[in-house]
């Protein structure tokens, strides 16, 4: 369809898929907070999620949307690179400099994609420990978590990537609304601030978890 081939069409797809993922990332972070409660709560929550038959639908949707988001993003980034064959020797600065993170969306986006794959390999497809609560056998994902976050290198890398997620969200959230055509001088300024807040919360929430494991729970 012509709309999907147009740049605005692609960007609007990115906006919609990006917003879906923003929601997912926040709920994922919130769910993970159960680790502060304890292994049992965390594992039971995980079991609740994977044992629900809708999980396949949800997973399929997540995979599909991230693929659409990434493929569109890559195509747009290539188009953008081609639009300026000869680079500048200097970039806008001072009063005319745009926000730092907005210029690097494709960069953090790619980093996040690599991280995501690695993240799935580590956790979803990582070592399967099992544990039994109330007679129900389930995966002991909490144990894996504790193990993984013992490695200082992994913790540092994880935090770095999660900060990238925060940056990506802080611009992406506000940007998505603009791309969908929702803009108002007053409310968009608020939305912009909210985007920062959102990025900060998500990044902060995710950072707290490995730090907790590394410094407290793992000892």
């Amino acid at each position: 369809m012509k709309y999907l081939m147009s740049t605005i069409g692609r960007k609007q797809l990115m906006a919609v898929t990006g917003l879906l993922w923003s929601g997912f990332v926040l709920s994922h972070m919130a769910g993970n907070f159960l680790m502060f409660v304890g292994a049992e709560a965390y594992n039971k929550y995980s079991y609740f999620l994977v044992s629900n038959p809708l999980i396949y639908l949800a997973e399929a949707a997540l995979v599909l949307t991230i693929l659409v988001h990434a493929v569109s993003g890559i195509r747009l980034a290539i188009q953008n690179r081609n639009a300026r064959p000869q680079k500048y020797s200097m970039t806008p600065s001072g009063d005319k400099a745009p926000r730092f993170q907005s210029r690097w969306m494709a960069f953090h986006g790619s980093l996040i994609l690599v991280f995501l794959v690695y993240h799935l390999i580590t956790f979803k497809f990582g070592t399967y420990y099992s544990v039994t609560y109330d007679g129900v056998e389930m995966r002991d994902i909490h144990r894996l978590l504790i193990e993984v976050f013992q490695s200082p290198a992994y913790v540092v890398g994880y935090i770095f990537c999660v900060i990238a997620v925060g940056f990506h969200l802080s611009h992406g959230f506000y940007s998505s609304f603009a791309t969908l055509g929702l803009y108002h001088p007053r409310y968009s300024a608020m939305l912009n601030k909210f985007g920062y807040f959102y990025g900060f919360i998500v990044a902060g929430g995710f950072i707290s978890q490995p730090l907790y494991v590394f410094f407290v729970a793992g000892k």
Partner: protein, 263 residues
């Protein structure tokens, strides 16, 4: 008659020289002395050029005309900023009192695939004319118009349309954009005409055709950095791009042509 008038500056210029569209370009250094702080940036270049001519060298080519900030001809990137460091200003209205003696100033053309360099700092911006030709107008022949007061237009709507119509087509938005996108330029025209009742009948056709032409011309797309609006000498609001996005979506939904194309 400047405030001070007597102050002069010595500067180090690094200017992009490129003899023709095919040639490889390079930077050349020039030491400039005794520039009045009341001179405009272009008048500073006039001084350099006058010297180059007397030395029998080829002067620096750049586009300019009205030197009042309205024709949109001047088009250089100064230390990475299209039209220089001052917001809401074209290069011709940028005055040397914004610089300090001893400053190094790098001057490059507006760079984009859709704006090929013709010579030195002069680029070809005819892609903008093509975008306008593809839909940036109201189709009304001379002689057909009803009385000007026949359709009232609320004052704030007219003022809003005017703010969008203030675009001078200089291309600073493209030059500033990391993606060399022309979305602010297109958005300004789509808003200007779309806001007014006179532009309403062609609203959908206009936005679809102009966007198609923009893409075909080799401009990038928008990643909402807002750099365009910061660089715009007329400070056209970033809101025009958001409006362009919604107009595009609306036109796509409303388009009844089954092939997806518009006439």
């Amino acid at each position: 008659m400047g405030g001070t008038g007597t102050t002069t500056l010595n500067l180090k210029l690094k200017v992009w020289r490129q003899n023709n569209p095919q040639a490889e370009g390079h930077f050349e250094d020039y030491d400039v002395e005794g520039i009045s702080t009341d001179a405009s940036f272009l008048e500073m270049l006039d001084v350099v050029n006058n010297r180059l001519v007397k030395e029998g060298k080829d002067p620096i080519a750049f586009d300019h005309d009205c030197r009042e900030g309205i024709c949109g001809s001047c088009s250089m990137t100064i230390n990475g900023n299209p039209h220089g460091p001052q917001r809401g200003t074209t290069t011709c209205q940028l005055h040397m009192r914004k610089f300090k003696t001893g400053d190094s100033i790098t001057v490059e053309p507006f760079r984009a695939k859709a704006f090929p360099v013709i010579k030195d700092l002069a680029v070809n911006r005819s892609a903008f004319d093509k975008i306008i030709a593809s839909g940036g107008y109201v189709s009304v022949n001379a002689g057909n118009a009803p009385d000007a007061n026949a359709r009232p237009v609320p004052k704030d709507v007219a003022a809003n349309a005017f703010m969008a119509a203030a675009c001078i087509g200089c291309g600073a938005c493209v030059a500033a954009c990391t993606n060399s996108s022309a979305m602010l330029f297109v958005g300004a025209k789509v808003s200007h005409l779309g806001l007014l009742p006179q532009g309403d009948p062609e609203r959908e056709r206009r936005v679809l055709n102009m966007m198609q032409t923009m893409e075909d011309a080799g401009f990038g797309n928008c990643s909402n950095t807002g750099a365009c609006s910061l660089a715009c000498p007329k400070e056209i609001s970033f809101e025009r791009i958001a409006n362009l996005n919604s107009e595009f979506l609306r036109a796509t939904v409303k388009n009844r042509n089954t092939s997806g194309s518009v006439g």
